[in-house]
Amino acid sequence: MSAVDRPGPDWPGVQLHVVTGKGGTGKSTVAAALALALASRGKDVLLCEVEGRQGIARMFDVDPLPYEERRIAKGLPAEPSGAAGTVHALHIDAESALLDYLAMYYRLGRAGRALDKFGVVEFATTIAPGVRDVLLTGKVFEAAKPGRRGKNARQYDAVVLDAPPTGRITQFLNVSDELAGLAKVGPVKSQADLMMTLFRSSRTAVHFVTVLEEMPVQETADGIADLRRTGLPVGGVVVNLTRPDELDADDLAAVTAGTAQAAPLAEDLAAAGIDGGPDELADLAEHLLAQGRDHAERKALEDAQRALVATYGVPTYELPRMAGGVDLGGLYELAGHLRRQGMA
């Protein structure tokens, strides 16, 4: 196992945690668990989503989130004396972000609404793709920077962004380059440049979520290489949905080699109080051994992928697959795993 208990958090100066991952790897779940883990260290955390799924609301079992920071959970206190931090959540949509942005930076309250009426907002957010990303990241930037403006502005110790998938993440964060072709000078360009200073700094970390399968692991490698090329800070890799370690290496080898026999296993099962006649227990033993072989095969494939991830030279964390799915209690459990392994 590459993930071991670590004494302290691995990302002390990081203010903005960006969480990405291939579809189906559970990146939103990991982002939520990381936010809870940080809150359990006494931090006030803002968890942002930008893809219009309302996934945060479902995971935390609250009403759909508006374009407004809402308190959704408290962390568990780390030590008996320590106070728990809070998790606020923000659902960012590009349309609201644009109007917000116009009002905040250009004091264009009325003109902003006029733009909306003219379909400019729709144009900017659906047709001009780079602009959409700048608006979404701009709002995250605004929430993460010290000394926020505005009367109800909360100051957060950390912001966790449930970001677009691995294939799009570099483009998403690399806002200046994305805009460069469109706007070489002007206010939008300077705003994007300002954002890039945060995204490129050691106050940001981009974490990758993967499962131990070939394609997601390969995409993680590609994503890390892309970020490094662009000069964006690579964080850790969270290996999600790992299989349980119910069999040790000797047992795995025994079921694979076929040296583990059904007859003695059936006797042990009978001794352990499992009901059934000799034939039924023999069938059960055969089935359990076959299942064990299948498990061993999949574990071996996982180990091969795990070894690849270890070559990426970044801290890795592991989260177990939860047989019953992840509910709110499960999120706290995953947060505990991340905290113990030093991600928060």
């Binding site: 003219f118 001009a128 352990a272 059960l284």
Partner: protein, 431 residues
């Protein structure tokens, strides 16, 4: 359920299967697979009335593999197939001979031709598809002006919305071509892993509403005549835009829109044709999902949207399912026995446990192995129970949707044999 190529027949089928499933209410909780009518994918691809199969669903559910496996199975059953993939795994693309992005279908080598079928494959190159459309719609110098404009470069190479639209554009192109020269009688399309799985359905509509929008008219206004027709807002708008974007950007944007204006009509017409093609009775949508809450929620949303848009749905493919164990041992019973083994592992004879009802005096052979296997079993049972519950809920709310279930494979598919195996599992479609 077989999929009829006529809308009327399809409706009758759906009605029939709905009635059938309602007799099984009592068994639903035990047998989620029985709750939904069976999706017979062999019947679907054997039906000569099926001309287009569109595979859609959220990211990470095996959409690309499903599309490729289905295309290969159809080819080996005698269809002349082309499969249009968006972003296949590198090794899968290599094995199909499509790692080159040249936007042209290439024959896949290694297909069994016994039944007279064939398989071509291509990987979508979004930007060149877009460029081709522009070039076909505008004069050479106008096309050049568009292709060089920074706004066009951003629009055509970004992933937001354009890819969906271009996938459908390419489908339309191949379909028109095939109708003329008869190269293909079945087109299988994979859809992009987009923010919303439905972006490609919305793309034509979005394009039309954008083109008819007031903003476009505003941007064209200086070129086309007096601004006063736009009313009071005009000065406010240009003022605001200049303030935010800068004057240069606004000028670039106006140049782009003015140049693009001439090809808009063609775009809109093509978008509407493609939309009509998707609604046609020869088209069959296959929604792909994994037995996970989010993937099935997305699938449910998809099924409803297809119905609203009168798009013909063939059914649902549930990938990566865990097969139900063939033995009758519940999770709790397995865990209880595992606990007893853990407690008694130290004693080499069960008799030492003194007074324990389980112990019959026989020594345990390998309690750690038995314990591990039982815990593994309990874990597996819990997963199949959760998956079964999710599928049962889906079937309860969408009883008319025919379903095929494909078990989770131990490893990724990256060669033709792997695709052939997936194709066979798709055809069986039951756990």
């Amino acid at each position: 359920m077989t999929v009829s190529s006529t809308p009327g027949g399809g409706a009758a089928e759906r009605l029939g299967s709905h009635r059938r499933s309602s007799h099984r209410v009592g068994r639903l909780a035990h047998d989620p697979a029985e709750a939904a009518p069976h999706l017979d994918l062999d019947a679907l691809v054997d039906d000569r009335g099926t001309g287009i199969v569109v595979c859609c669903g959220s990211g990470g559910v095996g959409k690309t593999t499903t599309a490729a496996a289905l295309a290969m199975r159809a080819a080996e059953r005698g269809r002349k197939v082309v499969v249009l993939t968006i972003d296949p795994a590198r090794r899968l693309a290599q094995s199909m001979g499509i790692e080159e992005l040249d936007n042209t279908p290439r024959p896949v080598v290694g297909i069994d031709p016994t039944n007279g079928g064939s398989l071509d494959a291509m990987m979508l190159d979004m930007k060149s598809t877009f460029d081709e459309v522009v070039e076909s719609q505008a004069s050479p110098e106008k096309a050049r002006a568009i292709l060089d404009n920074p706004f066009y470069v951003a629009l055509s190479s970004s992933f937001a919305g354009t890819q969906e639209y271009m996938a459908m554009e390419k489908l339309g192109q191949i379909h028109r071509q095939a109708k003329v020269d008869g190269t293909y009688d079945l087109i299988v399309v994979d859809t992009p892993p987009s923010r919303s799985a439905l972006d490609f359905l919305d793309a034509p509509e979005r394009l039309s509403s954008f083109l008819d929008g007031r903003f476009i008219k505003l941007l064209l206004a200086p070129a086309k005549g007096p601004a006063k027709v736009l009313g009071m807002g005009f000065g406010l708008i240009t003022g605001a835009l200049t303030k935010v974007l800068g004057a240069q950007v606004l000028t670039d944007l106006q140049t782009f829109v003015a140049a693009f204006d001439t090809v808009f009509g063609g775009f809109r017409q093509r978008a509407q044709q493609t939309y009509a093609l998707l609604q046609d009775a020869q088209t069959a949508f296959v929604v792909v999902a994994a037995p996970e809450r989010d993937a099935l929620r997305e699938a449910a949303y998809f099924v409803e949207r297809l119905a609203d848009d009168r798009m013909p749905l063939a059914g649902l493919v549930v990938n990566r399912a865990h097969p139900r164990p063939p033995v009758d041992l519940g999770a709790e019973e397995a865990v209880a026995a595992a606990r007893w083994l853990a407690r008694n592992a130290g004693s080499d004879a069960g008799g030492d446990a003194g007074g324990d009802a389980h112990s019959a005096g026989t020594p345990l052979h390998d309690p750690a192995l038995a314990e591990g296997l039982l815990r593994l079993h309990a874990d597996h049972v819990r997963i199949t129970e959760r998956e079964g519950e999710l599928r049962r809920r889906f079937a309860a709310t969408h009883p008319e949707v025919a379903t095929a279930v494909v078990p989770a494979l131990a490893s990724d598919v990256h060669d033709l044999d792997g695709l052939r195996r997936v194709g066979a599992l798709l055809a069986v479609g039951r756990d």
